[in-house]
Symmetry: C2
Subunit: 601 residues, 2 copies
């Protein structure tokens, strides 16, 4: 593969693009973060920030991003444009109120180029799953193959087997395709969304671009307040990553918050509305059944999933089976026509350590396994959502059961939080559980911010949540032995050992904060190249001593000591070692036994 | 056991004391944090903050804390006071410079009541290990038994078996005894210490009280700059928790930073100096042997432990075996005379993911196992230090090997960090590894702050590091099924489910930040008692719906549905459930199908 540089910079990093082998389609340009090291080498990192970090691209949130996939979708010839469902005031929750906040100066829902919605021709499932099963490799599959640096056939096989999903609604051509599956890099989702309490459209779009800037692989818009439709439109038209939603939230707004007034008609109408806008995956709480509700009665924290409690309330109110469960096959046909991916929600996930792995949770999981089979029959890509609050010793059972019951469909978990005692630090209580469950096979992690349980995340909380979860995801990639994952750690550790501070900062998940922390102790510019760490100070530095040792002993290789590089080789041949050491001791002494570190060095 | 309240407050929490059964010694008063819930119940939490949080105690850092243990030590009659080693200018690294910073306005090293150092009478090991082996239960053991809420015999047995240590130097009578062992609550250590670069004596004392305020169980003073002796004296006289040090750091200062000029004499002199001051445990890098050094030559990050690299440099310079290893038995006799606990340092711990679990690391661990046996023969309490940087899949091997090689001596690990890519977030990369290794048996965790690898932690970093590690430690207590550990989580989850916001804040690891985050979204005072979460807003709340469900279904118990409380009971009797549900549906409907949440409620 070759590199196409958006622009060049002497130092630091810049946005670059990986293209396929010569002869492959020129419109396949996979974005990467190219880090330039001071020793001349480059390190290529996965990049989710979209065109916003490419100075050669002129972005405008009022125009939206370029429809990268449009030609690919049209070329398949299996979709058709149609007038689509008219946008109604209640779509923005404005039935009882006049428009306000966020719509000012806008003559339409979105000022950018209007586009008719598109859907699969009658009876034609247009999902990546359907293509993969037919043995077709789409440009989207080629894109992720380049992005993950794996053979495209691996991508097709994993999708065809249902072990991976490639969320890509035909009405969201702006995305840079990505894949979610245990054979690939662990992904991170960031939730945004306004509520009745606060936040505006611009803020949500800003949160989305901010989250992807720091590494969010997908973003869920969980808005529940006003302007839901308009906020979603702006987020979709400007998002380089797949967007997920929970249609039930908007449906509830349409019936004025009365769960018992929900119906299949209102829900279906909302799903179509969002599918036409381009939502890539939808959380559907179809696994909450009437018979499951009693199982939650004695829980310490009952039902904490909003979708789960809405459906439970509906079931209680009507004493009928869930309308989502009873109309699931029709729902599958709708999603298949747009290639919307299912995220089967865990409406009964535990909301406290005490409720983890209880019968309510696992009864729902068994139902999700049943629905997973139905969805696959309709060629709908499907992932399964998981908890929640789970103590460490009960985490593995969750992923093992899910993989068994759901035929290895991608698991998508929130945390889990490993203790309940640290509100304001639940990005950490859950980052611990997230790293573990991802190591054991979870494909995507839904982030948790410091504001969890307390309030709506602001810009800083979103960044902290994303960084924390990128750490959990990468720690899992390492533990799974994901090919190439450790190169990043090795590059940073090399820079650390060689006192290349700028390289250390540029390779860090958060270069800005790393640099700022370092400067607090050693503000002077020269300090960034000085050969000592601020922990030990200029006088003494363990790293420096290691260099002396390497110099003193590294040469010993020529004496045949430790020759094969296998540490074990040094053992057993005490004599050889002593000989080599003695031979080098003179050299070490000659060098003045330097454990000091001249600041000028 | 009974409670003695230092003072009473209507709400929130206050410092209280647990005393032994009637008839037991009245001077045994174990501090606890007594949280008062608005529902009238109390929750008792382990407290490390010392007298500083007891308004009835008048503390003064210039006078120091009351010598709680003094009478216990004297009563044993096996120690004697003696003139002690004179304090020399070089003890404060002042050989080449005039005193400055930190010593101003002080006519002595410490203005508080002068006290002659104390040591065991000739040939009398005065360690808690020696007492435990003789079958004696000391007041210190009774204290920790009350503190951990376990039988005192369990405490004595664990110490006698070497599976736990109770660090308590006879010259540090100010401490509130605590125990470190896998059968007890997982403990957290916070490092403080000035360096040549920055920080003053007052700052270090403040960091110590600040760290214990947030839950640090022990504090290590790793000062390397000036005023080492004086800083340590102030920290010791004001510390309610055991203090640990790395004597090698001060010894190096005494030879002006020239590792090759270190000698057993200088080191021994430093150990005696610190033992007389009252240091409770000392990190000793006696496991770094001459033959181990070559094993580090090809590492990615060489030797990152300062103590390890000092000893490696000394070995290389002299091409002789480590003076710590060769004089270890004499060192044991010194520590036994003051009851200083060994923390056998892992000088060759991996400093990067690439170097984890390599031959250098495990070769040293085998040597530590050998030294552990020697130390025990001399009745010296001993714990073993562990890594470092280790990917998740290689963590368990570390604790399993250590427990096997070191006969279950307490493991005391730094993290481990599970990835190298996140400088500025290493409290999180390491918090993940810390929680896991503690679950698997590590007894104490050494915290890592956000400044790790970048600079010296300030007040905020210390707090963040301690809170993060309390989370890891508690998550491990839960996973280990430690008796009573989950009560804390349950109390907080109950408060959350019942919208008792103030109780939630008061039970949180960090009440201040939890309250502040909540107020950002809902500043109004009433909001703290309002029955809705700021995430959902007043209109809709999943928790509230769960209450409706509980109300609607909880009553179903009277119909015999789900009677035994075992969720499984609901299964298999579909009819019963439907009957019970139907019976209750009317009640639910009668209640107006309330999924709303009146703000005034």
């Amino acid at each position: 593969m070759t590199m196409q540089d958006a622009h060049t910079r002497g130092t630091g990093w810049h946005k670059s693009y990986v293209t396929g082998p010569t002869g492959s389609r020129p419109d396949l340009r996979v974005p990467v973060r190219q880090v330039h090291l001071t020793d001349g080498r480059d390190v290529t990192l996965y990049d989710t920030s979209g065109p916003y970090t490419d100075p050669s691209v002129d972005t405008d949130v009022r125009r939206g991003l370029a429809p990268l996939r449009e030609n690919w979708i049209i070329a398949r010839g299996d979709t058709e444009e149609y007038p689509g469902r008219p946008v109604r005031p209640e779509d923005d929750g404005l039935r009882h109120t006049a428009p306000r906040g966020g719509l000012r100066n806008l003559d339409a829902v979105f000022p950018g180029r209007p586009r008719l919605p598109r859907r699969g021709r009658p009876g034609r499932p247009v999902t990546q799953l359907a293509y993969a099963r037919r043995g077709e490799t789409t440009p989207e599959m080629e894109f992720v193959a380049l992005r993950e640096n794996v053979p495209v056939e691996t991508v097709r096989e994993e999708i065809a087997a249902g072990r991976a999903v490639l969320p890509a609604n035909v009405n969201h051509p702006e995305i840079e395709p990505m894949i979610i599956g245990k054979r690939f890099l662990v992904k991170v989702n960031a939730n945004i969304g306004n509520s009745a309490v606060a936040s505006s459209i611009e803020e949500e779009v800003e949160k989305m671009t901010w989250a992807t800037r720091w590494g969010a692989d997908t973003v869920m818009d969980l808005s529940t307040g006003r302007n839901i439709h308009t906020t979603r439109e702006w987020v979709l038209r400007n998002s380089p990553v797949p967007i997920g939603t929970v249609p039930l939230y908007q449906a509830l707004e349409k019936v004025d918050g009365r769960a018992e007034e929900l119906s299949w008609d209102v829900y279906r109408d909302t799903v179509v509305e969002q599918a036409e806008q381009g939502v890539d995956y939808m959380t559907v709480h179809a696994g909450v059944l009437l018979r499951h509700v009693p199982l939650t009665a004695r829980r310490k924290t009952g039902i904490v999933s909003r979708g789960g409690s809405i459906m439970a309330a509906w079931c209680l109110a009507h004493h009928r089976e869930s309308f989502l469960y009873e109309n699931f096959e029709e729902l599958c046909d709708i999603l298949a026509a747009y290639d919307v991916t299912f995220s089967l929600g865990d409406g009964l996930r535990p909301g406290s350590i005490a409720d983890a792995n209880d019968e309510a949770q696992f009864a729902e999981l068994r139902t999700l396994g049943e629905l997973n089979t139905v969805a696959k029959r309709h060629h709908v890509q499907t992932m399964i959502e998981g908890p929640g609050h789970v103590p460490m010793h009960k985490i593995k059972e969750n992923i093992d059961l899910q993989q068994e019951i759901c035929e290895e469909a991608p698991f998508y978990t929130l945390g889990p939080l490993t203790t309940d005692i640290a509100p304001a630090y639940d990005h950490i209580t859950s980052g611990i559980g997230a790293a573990m469950i991802a190591w054991w096979g979870t494909a995507m992690l839904c982030y948790v911010t410091p504001k969890e349980h307390l309030g709506l995340p602001d810009r800083d909380d979103v960044k902290t949540g994303v960084i924390t979860y990128k750490i959990a995801a990468h720690a899992a990639d390492l533990a799974k032995g994901h090919p190439g994952a450790q190169e990043w750690d090795d590059a940073l550790s090399d820079a650390r050992f060689e006192f290349r501070w700028e390289d250390q900062f540029n390779l860090a998940l958060d270069p800005d904060t790393a640099r700022a922390f370092h400067d607090e102790t050693l503000p002077a510019e020269p300090a960034k190249t000085a050969h000592f760490c601020s922990m030990c100070g200029p006088k003494f530095c363990s790293m420096r001593i290691s260099h002396d040792i390497r110099r003193a002993h590294g040469g010993a290789d020529q004496d045949g000591v430790d020759q094969d590089g296998a540490p074990g080789a040094a053992e057993g041949s005490e004599e050889e070692i002593r000989a080599g050491m003695a031979a080098k001791s003179a050299e070490f002494a000659a060098a003045g036994n330097r454990v000091y570190l001249p600041i000028a060095d």
